[in-house]
């Protein structure tokens, strides 16, 4: 089951660039939350702070509090532990090119030393079914490389890979922006089904996509969270003028 995320006074820097300024918001469990905003507004940095991927950049710095399921991920646990609980899907599909489809899905477990064949087989099948990819790849599981699939299939493979470690939260950083409309529709269907079991945070440039999949939407601008409310409210009656300007296409 998914868990909620509480963010209090989060600040992030790349070098001297203050990319996130005093972000406070509460993302509820088992819902999809969309983050929108123009390029460079800090929404990607924000999701990368939620699983401490931000720290993999040596010049990055972060302060503030992020609690996931009540646990402070910066002070009460390690980055590796956090990332096991919080799956991430990136903008460009990034399957491991040297691994088969099966090994890609099993990689999270295998690389952490898990070896039980029967459980691995079950997990791979369940995760691929969850990611709506099982029927397309069931005959080539160990024969084909993950890199041999089409772009849309690769992205669903990456979702399956993230689901296989049984995360509580799924972070998606523009998961469909490199895909064609058919593949995008499949990913959106998937988000719709997955949110009953996982808390989903999705960064998107596509406002229709936010409106279609998310219960809540946050609008970022220049490193600040301008508005965070129900998706319906944001798109029909935003409280802030800047949000209204953005969703009506007047800037950004």
């Amino acid at each position: 089951m998914g868990v909620g995320i509480e963010v209090n006074g989060l600040n992030a820097w790349y070098g001297t660039n203050h990319t996130l300024q005093d972000i406070t918001l509460h993302i509820p469990a088992n819902e999809a939350t969309a983050l929108i905003g123009p390029s460079g507004c800090g929404k990607s940095t924000f999701v990368r702070c939620l699983n401490r991927m931000h720290e993999t950049n040596p010049i990055a710095k972060v302060t503030g509090e992020v609690k996931i399921g009540g646990q402070d991920i910066y002070s009460e646990t390690s980055a590796v532990e956090v990332r096991r609980r919080i799956g991430m899907v990136f903008q460009r599909p990034n399957p491991f090119p040297t691994m088969s489809i099966y090994d890609n899905v099993a990689s999270g477990l295998k690389l952490n030393g898990f070896r039980n064949r029967r459980v691995l087989d079950e997990t791979v099948e369940r995760s691929l079914k969850h990611a709506a990819l099982w029927d397309e790849v069931r005959d080539d599981l160990k024969k084909k490389s993950g890199a041999s699939l089409s772009g849309g299939q690769q992205q669903r493979l990456c979702i399956a890979r993230a689901l296989a470690v049984d995360p509580e939260v799924l972070l998606m950083d523009e998961p469909a922006s490199a895909l064609d409309p058919v593949s995008t529709a499949k990913i959106e269907d998937l988000i719709f089904q997955l949110k009953s079991q996982y808390t989903i945070v999705i960064v998107t440039h596509n406002m229709q996509q936010a409106a279609r999949v998310a219960e809540r939407t946050g609008f970022f601008l220049n490193g600040k969270l301008i508005e965070f409310d129900s998706t319906h409210k944001i798109f029909t009656n935003p409280s802030d003028k800047r949000t209204e300007d953005y969703i009506t296409g007047r800037f950004g």
Partner: protein, 291 residues
């Protein structure tokens, strides 16, 4: 409407000419690159193949004047020294390359290591031989297969380290992020994901280094020395093909010259076979569509 984009006849002729000129320039250069290799190999086969027989592979060298001698001890000796060199040089080289690309990026130490590796690559091999003579042969008071392995191993390190670094850096950042995002510890991600993805290139680097040291003579003169008798012991002098070729090619006897040609042919074939074997073994398990 489109008239301004239509080319004149003269223009089209000029393009035809430059296009064909560039193609033939490329073809000509390719031939120039391949020709010396083919010529050397043909010459070796022509002069060496006739002296190759069963005795060559099974018998020890015989005194001048007698016939029926072989280079069995040199073939075995080369294999022993090269195996020893690879065992020492490849792991150190790969580990160094991993440090340079994954852990030391931007640090002072990595700059020093990279610079040292490049210098080491340019040190004349005879100097390496003298250095190891001073470090191992003189203190132990004996020439040895071990010293030969060490000197060739050290000569492999810079090539292996630098190619490993280059190949690891070519692995896309997104692949590393995928592994870290799954909660895989960094060391595990480096070994099981980045190094594994870079492996074909790393193996090419190892093979280049191997092929280069397999033909080295000068450093072995000061370390392995050579040995006319059977020896596989690591703390005894040992024969190696390049040493035997060197001795025989400079000798005054026609029989020696023939054997030197045969030895050169065997050395080249030994390198080609081991490189192809490693290639075959390491590409067997590659999956459909992997790149």
């Amino acid at each position: 409407m489109a008239t301004q984009f239509q080319s004149s006849t003269a223009n089209r002729r000029w393009r035809w000419f430059t296009n064909h000129a560039a193609t033939w320039l490329a073809v000509g250069s390719t031939v120039l690159v391949v020709a010396p290799l083919v010529a050397i190999f043909m010459d070796l086969v022509y002069k060496g193949a006739s002296s190759l027989n069963w005795n060559f592979f099974t018998k020890l060298p015989v005194p001048p004047g007698e016939s029926g001698g072989g280079m069995a001890n040199a073939i075995i000796g080369s294999i022993v020294v090269l195996a020893l060199a690879s065992l020492m040089g490849i792991p150190v080289g790969i580990a160094g390359g991993i440090y340079l690309s994954e852990f030391g990026r931007g640090t002072k130490l990595s700059t020093v290591v990279r610079f040292t590796a490049d210098i080491l690559n340019g040190v004349p091999s005879i100097v390496m031989g003298i250095a190891i003579y001073g470090l191992i042969v003189a203190p132990t008071k004996t020439f040895s297969a071990f010293a030969g392995g060490v000197v060739l191993g050290i000569m492999m390190v810079p090539t292996v380290a630098r190619t490993t670094e280059e190949m690891m850096l070519m692995v896309p950042h997104s692949i590393r992020e995928a592994a870290l995002g799954l909660g895989v510890p960094n060391w595990r991600s480096v070994l099981s994901i980045t190094l594994r993805t870079a492996m074909p290139g790393v193996i090419t680097g190892c093979m280049l280094a191997f092929a280069r040291v397999a033909g080295e003579t000068a450093p072995l003169l000061f370390t392995a020395l050579g040995n006319d008798f059977w020896s596989t012991s690591l703390n005894q002098p040992i024969e190696a093909l390049p040493l035997q070729i060197y001795t025989y090619a400079l000798g005054p006897y026609d029989e020696w010259h023939r054997l030197a040609w045969a030895g050169s042919l065997v050395l080249i074939v030994l390198i080609v076979v081991s490189v192809s074997l490693v290639r075959y073994v390491t590409t067997r398990g590659v999956l459909k569509g992997a790149n």
